[in-house]
């Protein structure tokens, strides 16, 4: 029973984070802020949903496969985000800065 409740909490939090990330990706004004919204929520959303599914599955081959997906996403999601930001910066895409931070820089 407690495990059920925990798993539902994890699943709901994961779904909510996913929607938040999607809205951030859709609404933010600049590539880097979009990547910030997408990259961070993406990882935690995947973690929480897989954790909730694993709690539902119990010990067994399904939980093992979920753990494999978990480990793989845990390493590749941040890597992909980092590679994206790196490639965008190297190709000369400038972040959108507001006035105050531009003055501080110059």
């Amino acid at each position: 029973m407690i495990i059920d409740i925990l798993s539902w909490i994890c699943l709901l939090a994961g779904g909510a984070l996913g929607i938040i990330g999607g809205v951030g990706l859709y609404r933010f004004p600049d590539f880097y802020s979009r990547l910030h919204a997408a990259g961070i929520t993406d990882t935690l959303c995947a973690m929480l949903i897989l954790l909730g599914l694993g709690l539902q599955a119990g010990w067994g081959i399904a939980a093992f496969k979920l753990a494999l997906i978990f480990v793989f996403l845990f390493f590749t999601c941040p890597t992909a985000s980092h590679a994206l930001a790196n490639a965008a910066l190297h190709s000369g895409l400038k972040p959108k800065l507001d006035k105050s931070s531009r003055e501080v820089k110059s």
Partner: protein, 99 residues
């Protein structure tokens, strides 16, 4: 309850797809497609539990692997214009065969 989660994931996928279609720069599109792929993995995993066939988790695992490699390959193609394989060597080898 699994249906609610899959609906949430589908909404997120819709938003990511909108950004992929609308995104002004190529990197926006790649970020959106990356998010779309991750959400596809999660959707397959949730659907496996929804239909009670946990064999589908294998497909989710394979999709996660393919998604990462696809994103990195697309990034390389966009930033460098080619895949930086040893094209020169293969061209030289072909010319050598001809000669």
């Amino acid at each position: 309850m699994f249906i609610a989660i899959s609906l949430a994931i589908l909404i997120t996928m819709g938003l990511a797809l909108t950004r992929a279609l609308a995104g002004p720069t190529t990197f926006d599109r790649i970020a959106a497609v990356n998010m779309f792929g991750t959400k596809t993995v999660l959707l397959i995993a949730v659907l496996a539990f929804l239909s009670g066939r946990t064999d589908l988790l294998d497909i989710a695992l394979v999709y996660a692997l393919i998604n990462f490699i696809g994103v990195v390959a697309a990034l390389k193609l966009v930033t460098q214009g080619n895949f930086h394989t040893s094209d020169k060597d293969t061209i030289k080898a072909e010319q050598g065969e001809r000669e």
